[in-house]
Symmetry: C2
Subunit: 204 residues, 2 copies
Protein backbone atom coordinates (compact mmCIF):
# COMPACT_ATOMS: atom_id res chain seq x y z
CA UNK A 1 0.00 0.00 0.00
CA UNK A 2 1.22 3.53 -0.68
CA UNK A 3 1.17 6.09 2.09
CA UNK A 4 1.61 9.83 1.79
CA UNK A 5 4.71 9.78 3.96
CA UNK A 6 7.84 7.66 4.14
CA UNK A 7 7.84 7.97 7.94
CA UNK A 8 4.26 6.72 8.11
CA UNK A 9 5.05 3.85 5.72
CA UNK A 10 7.92 2.74 7.89
CA UNK A 11 5.82 2.93 11.07
CA UNK A 12 3.00 0.91 9.48
CA UNK A 13 5.45 -1.66 8.18
CA UNK A 14 7.11 -2.00 11.59
CA UNK A 15 3.87 -2.11 13.60
CA UNK A 16 2.48 -4.77 11.25
CA UNK A 17 5.32 -7.11 12.25
CA UNK A 18 3.58 -7.50 15.63
CA UNK A 19 1.60 -10.74 15.97
CA UNK A 20 -2.01 -10.47 14.80
CA UNK A 21 -1.55 -6.99 13.31
CA UNK A 22 -2.19 -6.53 9.60
CA UNK A 23 -1.49 -3.48 7.45
CA UNK A 24 -4.90 -1.90 8.03
CA UNK A 25 -4.74 -2.24 11.81
CA UNK A 26 -1.15 -0.99 11.79
CA UNK A 27 -2.24 2.09 9.82
CA UNK A 28 -5.09 2.70 12.25
CA UNK A 29 -2.65 2.47 15.17
CA UNK A 30 -0.11 4.77 13.52
CA UNK A 31 -2.77 7.40 12.76
CA UNK A 32 -4.12 7.01 16.30
CA UNK A 33 -0.63 7.72 17.62
CA UNK A 34 -0.36 10.80 15.40
CA UNK A 35 -3.40 12.25 17.09
CA UNK A 36 -1.74 11.99 20.48
CA UNK A 37 0.83 14.26 22.11
CA UNK A 38 4.29 13.64 20.78
CA UNK A 39 5.33 13.00 24.38
CA UNK A 40 2.93 10.03 24.46
CA UNK A 41 4.38 8.64 21.26
CA UNK A 42 7.90 8.97 22.64
CA UNK A 43 6.87 7.13 25.83
CA UNK A 44 5.66 4.19 23.78
CA UNK A 45 8.82 4.22 21.65
CA UNK A 46 11.06 4.33 24.70
CA UNK A 47 9.15 1.56 26.49
CA UNK A 48 9.68 -0.66 23.45
CA UNK A 49 13.32 0.38 23.20
CA UNK A 50 13.81 -0.67 26.84
CA UNK A 51 12.70 -4.17 25.89
CA UNK A 52 15.79 -4.38 23.71
CA UNK A 53 18.20 -2.63 26.07
CA UNK A 54 17.15 -3.27 29.65
CA UNK A 55 15.54 -6.72 29.85
CA UNK A 56 17.66 -9.40 31.45
CA UNK A 57 17.00 -13.05 32.08
CA UNK A 58 17.44 -14.58 35.50
CA UNK A 59 20.59 -16.75 35.31
CA UNK A 60 18.91 -19.34 37.55
CA UNK A 61 15.37 -19.81 36.22
CA UNK A 62 15.45 -17.82 32.92
CA UNK A 63 12.46 -15.75 33.92
CA UNK A 64 12.80 -12.16 32.74
CA UNK A 65 13.94 -9.55 35.21
CA UNK A 66 15.48 -6.10 35.31
CA UNK A 67 18.84 -7.05 36.78
CA UNK A 68 20.65 -9.84 38.63
CA UNK A 69 18.38 -12.64 39.82
CA UNK A 70 14.62 -12.48 39.33
CA UNK A 71 12.44 -11.48 42.29
CA UNK A 72 11.19 -15.03 42.73
CA UNK A 73 14.64 -16.65 42.91
CA UNK A 74 15.88 -13.82 45.13
CA UNK A 75 12.97 -14.21 47.56
CA UNK A 76 14.32 -16.01 50.63
CA UNK A 77 10.78 -16.93 51.72
CA UNK A 78 10.25 -19.13 48.70
CA UNK A 79 10.98 -22.82 48.71
CA UNK A 80 13.95 -23.18 46.37
CA UNK A 81 13.83 -26.98 46.65
CA UNK A 82 10.62 -27.13 44.60
CA UNK A 83 10.98 -26.27 40.93
CA UNK A 84 7.99 -25.77 38.66
CA UNK A 85 9.05 -26.35 35.05
CA UNK A 86 7.16 -24.17 32.54
CA UNK A 87 7.52 -23.35 28.87
CA UNK A 88 7.04 -19.64 28.91
CA UNK A 89 7.22 -16.50 31.03
CA UNK A 90 3.45 -16.16 30.63
CA UNK A 91 3.04 -19.44 32.50
CA UNK A 92 5.03 -17.99 35.42
CA UNK A 93 2.77 -14.93 35.42
CA UNK A 94 -0.36 -17.11 35.34
CA UNK A 95 0.78 -19.37 38.19
CA UNK A 96 1.95 -16.40 40.26
CA UNK A 97 -1.50 -14.86 39.90
CA UNK A 98 -3.04 -17.84 41.73
CA UNK A 99 -0.96 -16.75 44.74
CA UNK A 100 -0.78 -20.40 45.76
CA UNK A 101 2.65 -21.53 44.68
CA UNK A 102 5.60 -20.87 47.00
CA UNK A 103 8.34 -22.74 45.14
CA UNK A 104 10.55 -21.47 42.31
CA UNK A 105 10.43 -21.89 38.54
CA UNK A 106 12.44 -23.02 35.58
CA UNK A 107 11.44 -21.41 32.28
CA UNK A 108 12.38 -23.69 29.38
CA UNK A 109 11.69 -21.06 26.73
CA UNK A 110 9.85 -23.56 24.52
CA UNK A 111 9.24 -27.25 24.19
CA UNK A 112 10.85 -30.06 22.22
CA UNK A 113 9.27 -30.06 18.77
CA UNK A 114 10.94 -32.10 16.02
CA UNK A 115 8.40 -30.67 13.56
CA UNK A 116 9.68 -27.16 14.21
CA UNK A 117 13.27 -28.30 14.53
CA UNK A 118 13.45 -27.57 18.25
CA UNK A 119 15.57 -30.15 20.04
CA UNK A 120 16.49 -30.57 23.73
CA UNK A 121 19.59 -28.41 23.21
CA UNK A 122 17.50 -25.47 22.00
CA UNK A 123 15.63 -25.02 25.26
CA UNK A 124 16.87 -24.63 28.84
CA UNK A 125 17.05 -28.32 29.77
CA UNK A 126 20.77 -28.57 30.39
CA UNK A 127 20.67 -25.69 32.84
CA UNK A 128 17.81 -27.44 34.66
CA UNK A 129 19.83 -30.66 34.92
CA UNK A 130 22.78 -28.67 36.25
CA UNK A 131 20.53 -26.86 38.70
CA UNK A 132 19.22 -30.17 40.01
CA UNK A 133 22.72 -31.62 40.32
CA UNK A 134 24.15 -28.61 42.14
CA UNK A 135 21.30 -27.87 44.56
CA UNK A 136 19.06 -29.75 46.94
CA UNK A 137 15.87 -30.22 44.99
CA UNK A 138 12.98 -32.16 46.52
CA UNK A 139 10.34 -31.84 43.86
CA UNK A 140 10.03 -31.09 40.16
CA UNK A 141 6.55 -30.06 39.03
CA UNK A 142 5.82 -30.23 35.32
CA UNK A 143 3.40 -27.49 34.25
CA UNK A 144 3.78 -28.00 30.50
CA UNK A 145 1.06 -27.92 27.88
CA UNK A 146 -0.71 -31.23 27.37
CA UNK A 147 0.28 -31.63 23.74
CA UNK A 148 2.59 -34.19 22.16
CA UNK A 149 5.39 -31.62 22.39
CA UNK A 150 4.69 -30.84 26.04
CA UNK A 151 4.48 -34.53 26.94
CA UNK A 152 7.69 -35.28 25.01
CA UNK A 153 9.51 -32.49 26.80
CA UNK A 154 8.36 -33.68 30.23
CA UNK A 155 9.31 -37.25 29.41
CA UNK A 156 12.73 -36.21 28.10
CA UNK A 157 13.46 -34.24 31.26
CA UNK A 158 12.14 -37.10 33.41
CA UNK A 159 14.55 -39.51 31.73
CA UNK A 160 17.56 -37.21 32.15
CA UNK A 161 17.02 -36.85 35.91
CA UNK A 162 19.87 -38.57 37.77
CA UNK A 163 18.69 -41.87 39.24
CA UNK A 164 21.00 -41.38 42.20
CA UNK A 165 19.09 -38.42 43.63
CA UNK A 166 15.71 -38.91 45.25
CA UNK A 167 13.43 -36.33 43.63
CA UNK A 168 9.66 -36.37 43.61
CA UNK A 169 8.43 -35.68 40.08
CA UNK A 170 4.86 -34.47 39.65
CA UNK A 171 2.68 -33.01 36.96
CA UNK A 172 -0.09 -30.46 37.48
CA UNK A 173 -3.56 -32.00 37.59
CA UNK A 174 -5.61 -32.08 34.40
CA UNK A 175 -9.35 -32.34 34.44
CA UNK A 176 -12.67 -30.68 33.87
CA UNK A 177 -12.37 -26.95 34.60
CA UNK A 178 -14.11 -25.51 37.60
CA UNK A 179 -17.38 -24.11 36.31
CA UNK A 180 -17.30 -26.25 33.18
CA UNK A 181 -20.25 -28.57 32.61
CA UNK A 182 -19.38 -32.25 32.55
CA UNK A 183 -21.39 -32.87 29.39
CA UNK A 184 -19.38 -30.33 27.44
CA UNK A 185 -15.92 -31.44 28.60
CA UNK A 186 -13.84 -33.10 25.91
CA UNK A 187 -13.42 -36.87 26.18
CA UNK A 188 -9.68 -36.86 26.88
CA UNK A 189 -10.02 -34.36 29.71
CA UNK A 190 -13.00 -36.17 31.19
CA UNK A 191 -11.17 -39.51 31.01
CA UNK A 192 -8.19 -37.93 32.78
CA UNK A 193 -10.51 -36.42 35.40
CA UNK A 194 -11.95 -39.84 36.20
CA UNK A 195 -8.66 -41.69 36.16
CA UNK A 196 -7.00 -39.18 38.50
CA UNK A 197 -9.96 -38.82 40.86
CA UNK A 198 -9.09 -37.71 44.37
CA UNK A 199 -10.61 -38.40 47.81
CA UNK A 200 -13.68 -36.21 48.24
CA UNK A 201 -12.38 -34.96 51.61
CA UNK A 202 -9.46 -33.33 49.79
CA UNK A 203 -11.82 -31.02 47.95
CA UNK A 204 -13.50 -29.71 51.08
Amino acid sequence: MEYPSRVLSRAVEQISTLPGIGQKTALRMALHLLRRDSQDILSLASAIESLAREIHYCPTCHNICDEGECDICADKNRDSSTICVVEDIRDVIAIEQTGLYRGVYHVLGGKISPMEGIGPADIEIESLTRRIAENTINEIIFALSSTIEGDTTAYYIYRTLPKSIDIKVTSIARGVSIGEEIQYADQMTLARSIRNRIPYENTL
Copy 2:
Protein backbone atom coordinates in the same frame (compact mmCIF):
# COMPACT_ATOMS: atom_id res chain seq x y z
CA MET B 1 -1.47 -7.49 36.65
CA GLU B 2 1.99 -8.05 38.11
CA TYR B 3 4.87 -8.79 35.79
CA PRO B 4 8.30 -10.08 36.73
CA SER B 5 10.02 -6.99 35.39
CA ARG B 6 9.45 -3.27 35.65
CA VAL B 7 10.59 -2.81 32.06
CA LEU B 8 8.09 -5.40 30.84
CA SER B 9 5.30 -3.80 32.90
CA ARG B 10 5.98 -0.44 31.33
CA ALA B 11 6.06 -1.92 27.81
CA VAL B 12 2.76 -3.75 28.38
CA GLU B 13 1.17 -0.64 29.82
CA GLN B 14 2.33 1.49 26.89
CA ILE B 15 1.40 -1.03 24.19
CA SER B 16 -2.06 -1.45 25.71
CA THR B 17 -2.75 2.24 25.06
CA LEU B 18 -3.00 1.39 21.35
CA PRO B 19 -6.58 1.11 20.08
CA GLY B 20 -8.08 -2.36 20.40
CA ILE B 21 -5.16 -3.72 22.44
CA GLY B 22 -5.88 -5.04 25.93
CA GLN B 23 -3.42 -6.09 28.62
CA LYS B 24 -3.25 -9.73 27.49
CA THR B 25 -2.60 -8.87 23.84
CA ALA B 26 -0.06 -6.25 24.90
CA LEU B 27 1.77 -8.86 26.98
CA ARG B 28 1.75 -11.29 24.06
CA MET B 29 3.21 -8.59 21.82
CA ALA B 30 5.89 -7.61 24.34
CA LEU B 31 6.96 -11.23 24.82
CA HIS B 32 6.90 -11.73 21.06
CA LEU B 33 9.23 -8.75 20.73
CA LEU B 34 11.55 -10.20 23.36
CA ARG B 35 12.00 -13.29 21.23
CA ARG B 36 13.26 -11.18 18.33
CA ASP B 37 16.69 -9.69 17.71
CA SER B 38 17.20 -6.55 19.72
CA GLN B 39 17.90 -4.79 16.40
CA ASP B 40 14.33 -5.61 15.33
CA ILE B 41 12.92 -4.19 18.55
CA LEU B 42 14.95 -1.01 18.09
CA SER B 43 13.66 -0.64 14.51
CA LEU B 44 10.09 -0.71 15.77
CA ALA B 45 10.89 1.75 18.56
CA SER B 46 12.61 4.14 16.17
CA ALA B 47 9.81 3.93 13.59
CA ILE B 48 7.35 4.93 16.31
CA GLU B 49 9.67 7.66 17.55
CA SER B 50 9.79 9.09 14.02
CA LEU B 51 6.03 9.52 14.14
CA ALA B 52 6.59 12.03 16.93
CA ARG B 53 9.65 13.73 15.49
CA GLU B 54 9.52 13.60 11.69
CA ILE B 55 5.89 13.73 10.60
CA HIS B 56 4.74 17.03 9.14
CA TYR B 57 1.41 18.15 7.83
CA CYS B 58 1.05 19.70 4.42
CA PRO B 59 0.37 23.43 4.97
CA THR B 60 -2.06 23.42 2.03
CA CYS B 61 -4.21 20.31 2.43
CA HIS B 62 -3.23 19.01 5.93
CA ASN B 63 -2.37 15.59 4.58
CA ILE B 64 0.65 14.13 6.36
CA CYS B 65 4.01 14.34 4.64
CA ASP B 66 7.69 14.19 5.42
CA GLU B 67 8.58 17.79 4.63
CA GLY B 68 7.28 20.89 2.84
CA GLU B 69 4.17 20.30 0.76
CA CYS B 70 2.68 16.83 0.39
CA ASP B 71 3.40 14.88 -2.80
CA ILE B 72 -0.14 15.41 -4.06
CA CYS B 73 -0.14 19.20 -3.68
CA ALA B 74 3.40 19.38 -5.10
CA ASP B 75 2.46 17.31 -8.17
CA LYS B 76 2.14 19.75 -11.08
CA ASN B 77 0.17 17.16 -13.09
CA ARG B 78 -2.72 17.23 -10.65
CA ASP B 79 -5.67 19.51 -11.06
CA SER B 80 -5.34 21.97 -8.17
CA SER B 81 -8.67 23.57 -9.03
CA THR B 82 -10.60 20.52 -7.86
CA ILE B 83 -10.57 19.94 -4.09
CA CYS B 84 -11.88 16.75 -2.55
CA VAL B 85 -12.83 17.44 1.09
CA VAL B 86 -12.26 14.45 3.40
CA GLU B 87 -12.27 13.87 7.14
CA ASP B 88 -9.17 11.82 7.54
CA ILE B 89 -5.81 10.87 6.03
CA ARG B 90 -7.14 7.33 5.60
CA ASP B 91 -9.75 8.69 3.20
CA VAL B 92 -6.98 10.22 1.08
CA ILE B 93 -5.17 6.88 1.02
CA ALA B 94 -8.37 5.05 0.03
CA ILE B 95 -9.24 7.48 -2.78
CA GLU B 96 -5.65 7.50 -4.04
CA GLN B 97 -5.78 3.72 -4.26
CA THR B 98 -8.58 3.92 -6.81
CA GLY B 99 -6.07 5.71 -9.07
CA LEU B 100 -8.98 7.63 -10.57
CA TYR B 101 -8.85 11.00 -8.90
CA ARG B 102 -6.51 13.63 -10.35
CA GLY B 103 -7.50 16.62 -8.23
CA VAL B 104 -6.19 17.64 -4.81
CA TYR B 105 -7.50 17.17 -1.27
CA HIS B 106 -8.40 19.02 1.86
CA VAL B 107 -8.16 16.97 5.05
CA LEU B 108 -10.48 18.38 7.71
CA GLY B 109 -9.07 16.23 10.50
CA GLY B 110 -12.53 15.39 11.83
CA LYS B 111 -16.13 16.43 11.45
CA ILE B 112 -18.42 18.81 13.27
CA SER B 113 -19.89 16.92 16.21
CA PRO B 114 -21.68 18.89 18.94
CA MET B 115 -22.01 15.66 20.92
CA GLU B 116 -18.24 15.33 21.14
CA GLY B 117 -17.73 19.07 21.50
CA ILE B 118 -16.12 19.45 18.07
CA GLY B 119 -17.14 22.72 16.45
CA PRO B 120 -16.26 24.25 13.07
CA ALA B 121 -13.22 25.97 14.60
CA ASP B 122 -11.75 22.65 15.72
CA ILE B 123 -11.34 21.27 12.23
CA GLU B 124 -9.64 22.69 9.13
CA ILE B 125 -12.61 24.62 7.72
CA GLU B 126 -11.16 28.11 7.94
CA SER B 127 -8.08 27.10 6.00
CA LEU B 128 -10.34 25.60 3.33
CA THR B 129 -12.31 28.85 3.04
CA ARG B 130 -9.05 30.76 2.75
CA ARG B 131 -7.76 28.31 0.14
CA ILE B 132 -10.91 28.81 -1.91
CA ALA B 133 -10.71 32.60 -1.61
CA GLU B 134 -7.04 32.80 -2.56
CA ASN B 135 -6.95 30.28 -5.45
CA THR B 136 -8.95 29.47 -8.53
CA ILE B 137 -11.12 26.58 -7.47
CA ASN B 138 -13.62 25.10 -9.91
CA GLU B 139 -15.04 22.23 -7.93
CA ILE B 140 -15.39 21.10 -4.33
CA ILE B 141 -16.16 17.41 -3.90
CA PHE B 142 -17.47 16.31 -0.50
CA ALA B 143 -16.29 12.81 0.38
CA LEU B 144 -17.49 12.83 3.99
CA SER B 145 -19.12 10.01 5.89
CA SER B 146 -22.88 9.81 5.47
CA THR B 147 -23.71 10.37 9.12
CA ILE B 148 -25.41 13.31 10.79
CA GLU B 149 -21.95 14.69 11.60
CA GLY B 150 -20.68 14.25 8.04
CA ASP B 151 -23.81 15.83 6.57
CA THR B 152 -23.65 18.72 9.04
CA THR B 153 -20.02 19.36 8.19
CA ALA B 154 -20.72 19.35 4.43
CA TYR B 155 -23.68 21.67 4.89
CA TYR B 156 -21.70 24.05 7.10
CA ILE B 157 -18.92 24.28 4.53
CA TYR B 158 -21.45 24.67 1.72
CA ARG B 159 -23.02 27.63 3.53
CA THR B 160 -19.66 29.34 4.15
CA LEU B 161 -18.67 29.23 0.49
CA PRO B 162 -18.60 32.77 -0.91
CA LYS B 163 -21.64 33.40 -3.08
CA SER B 164 -19.56 35.66 -5.34
CA ILE B 165 -17.39 32.85 -6.68
CA ASP B 166 -18.78 30.29 -9.12
CA ILE B 167 -17.80 26.91 -7.69
CA LYS B 168 -19.36 23.59 -8.56
CA VAL B 169 -20.10 21.70 -5.33
CA THR B 170 -20.57 17.93 -5.57
CA SER B 171 -20.81 14.98 -3.26
CA ILE B 172 -19.54 11.48 -4.01
CA ALA B 173 -22.27 9.09 -5.17
CA ARG B 174 -23.92 6.84 -2.58
CA GLY B 175 -25.62 3.64 -3.54
CA VAL B 176 -25.63 -0.10 -3.50
CA SER B 177 -22.03 -1.38 -3.56
CA ILE B 178 -20.71 -3.14 -6.63
CA GLY B 179 -21.08 -6.85 -5.92
CA GLU B 180 -23.69 -6.27 -3.20
CA GLU B 181 -27.03 -7.96 -3.70
CA ILE B 182 -29.97 -5.57 -4.01
CA GLN B 183 -32.08 -7.54 -1.53
CA TYR B 184 -29.49 -7.14 1.21
CA ALA B 185 -28.82 -3.42 0.72
CA ASP B 186 -30.13 -1.22 3.51
CA GLN B 187 -33.25 0.82 2.75
CA MET B 188 -31.59 4.23 2.94
CA THR B 189 -28.84 3.25 0.54
CA LEU B 190 -31.26 1.61 -1.85
CA ALA B 191 -33.52 4.66 -1.78
CA ARG B 192 -30.54 6.88 -2.55
CA SER B 193 -29.48 4.54 -5.36
CA ILE B 194 -32.89 4.84 -6.99
CA ARG B 195 -33.24 8.58 -6.50
CA ASN B 196 -29.80 9.29 -7.96
CA ARG B 197 -30.06 6.85 -10.84
CA ILE B 198 -27.89 7.64 -13.85
CA PRO B 199 -28.31 7.08 -17.61
CA TYR B 200 -27.47 3.46 -18.39
CA GLU B 201 -25.06 4.55 -21.11
CA ASN B 202 -22.87 6.16 -18.43
CA THR B 203 -22.19 2.80 -16.85
CA LEU B 204 -20.96 1.17 -20.04
